[in-house]
């Protein structure tokens, strides 16, 4: 898979997340970089999943994220590696499974993200209270938002990253 295309898509997605959040407040309940990270992690390539997760997370931290640079990067790196590793052994890259993975990844992402803030940010700069019910509610909202967006974005990414047929040791140009 073309690495430049991956980097470009991740940067575009981060840019869109930053741009849209200025005008659409509901975009805060979604994480476009996570959706892209999940999509690119489900390619049976753990290294790619890990690196994409790291890139997406750090980009998110830099442009959209809070004061702790690396918090989202850590979470998404872990998610990218885990999903791609699981996908090597189990077929979780089917269309419905991908959507389910988005829900799962959203929950894990929020938990790790908040966990890191809880561990390292003593000033509690996140604008949420720490009650489990509120965290659960926000996690559910973000999972739902990501699921809805993923439903529309995955087909687009399928076209962007459509693999060329493999013919005689060379990629055939159609």
């Amino acid at each position: 898979m073309n690495i430049f295309k991956i980097v470009l898509v991740v940067l575009v997605v981060v840019a869109l997340q930053g741009a849209f959040s200025r005008y659409i407040s509901q975009i805060d309940y979604t994480d476009l970089t996570l959706i892209v990270a999940v999509y690119l992690s489900l390619k049976r390539n753990p290294l790619q999943g890990t690196l994409v997760g790291c890139l997406a997370g750090l980009s998110y931290d830099a442009v959209v994220g809070g004061p702790l640079l690396g918090a989202s990067g850590f979470a998404k790196t872990l998610i990218g590696f885990t999903l791609s590793t699981i996908n090597v052994h189990f077929a979780i890259d089917r269309k419905l499974m991908r959507l389910f993975m988005v829900i799962l990844a959203s929950a894990v992402n929020v938990l790790i993200f908040l966990g890191l803030y809880g561990l390292f940010d003593s000033q509690a700069s996140l604008p949420i209270s720490s009650t489990p019910s509120e965290i659960g509610k926000l996690t559910a909202f973000q999972a739902a938002g990501n699921l809805i967006l993923a439903f529309f974005i995955f087909p687009i990414l399928d076209k962007v990253f459509a693999e060329e047929p493999y013919v005689g040791g060379r990629r055939a140009r159609i």
């Binding site: 200025r22 390539n45 690396g70």
Partner: protein, 284 residues
């Protein structure tokens, strides 16, 4: 070991490196969060701000286009609504004008009715003969309203014609321009008598006016009362054109009816009594 397997085996190592690196990154920021800005954070903010500036411009453009589209849609809806209101107001204006015109006509007819020494019936024109051969109209009053044969019909402008057919609810009126219509006429200045005949067009001809009579264009022509149908003194029209005669040759006079026969809407049917049409003994 294949390259795929090598890559696969490297992944956990890369993962650990990345995770540890990011943990150190996070923890270093946590350590320096005493209020001062770290150099790393400063660089990140600088780089991110460049991207944010680009995305800001992009976002503004997209938002601007979107807002423009929304505004355009709004303007279009507003335009449609205004157009609709404009149409309604135009219709209202037309209706009010029509009402005013109708009121003016009725008022005018009432005034004429008050002035005329005869009783009269007001009627509306409901149809016009569309043939080449006749100039006739149909009015909405018939025998039930008291309309009778040969009763004169007029407007405030002048004589229209006479009733030639009657139904219970409607009547047919022969216009003075009909080629079979004729009225006894009199020139208002010279007082000369003549016969006003329809020519089947929009005018009439006045015949039998001696070539020795002085006739002027624009001179008014009134009914003479000699035909036994129209009472004396009603306005027929005015002299539009004269073919001057002389000696034994009569004038050829073209008469323009004054009643506005092309746009008749409301008319008066005169209910004449026998004495209204009695000729003066001196005329006899």
């Amino acid at each position: 070991m294949s390259s795929a397997e090598t890559t696969k085996n490297r992944a956990p190592l890369v993962l650990v490196i990345l995770l540890v690196g990011q943990l150190l990154l996070v923890s270093s920021q946590a350590r320096s969060r005493g209020g001062e800005n770290s150099m790393l954070r400063g660089w990140v903010v600088t780089v991110a701000s460049l991207l944010q500036r680009v995305t800001g411009v992009f976002g503004d453009r997209v938002y601007g286009v979107w807002r423009g589209y929304v505004d355009l849609r709004g303007a279009r809806q507003e335009s449609t609504q205004l157009r609709s209101e404009n149409d309604q107001m135009r219709q209202e204006i037309v209706r009010l004008k029509e009402e005013l015109s109708s009121y003016q006509r009725e008022d005018s007819l009432k005034k004429v009715q008050e002035v005329l020494p005869y009783k009269s019936i007001t009627a509306k024109v409901i149809a016009r003969d569309g043939s080449l051969w006749f100039n006739r109209i149909t009015i909405n009053k018939g025998s039930l309203a008291g309309v009778q044969l040969d009763q004169p019909v007029m407007t405030p402008g002048g004589v229209v014609g006479r009733v030639i057919k009657i139904g219970p609810l409607a009547s047919q009126v022969q216009l003075i321009t009909d080629r079979y219509a004729g009225i006894g006429g009199q020139l208002s200045n010279s007082r000369a008598y003549g016969e006003v005949k329809g020519n089947g067009k929009s005018e009439c001809d006045m015949r039998n006016v001696s070539g020795l009579e002085k006739v002027e264009e624009g001179e008014l022509i009134i009914t003479s009362g000699l035909d036994g149908i129209y009472p004396k003194g009603l306005l027929i029209g005015y002299v539009e054109h004269i073919g001057l005669g002389g000696g034994a040759r009569n004038h050829q006079i073209t008469v323009r009816p004054s009643a506005g026969l092309e746009k008749l809407e409301d008319v008066l049917v005169l209910e004449l009594k026998a004495e209204d049409l009695e000729m003066n003994e001196s005329i006899k």
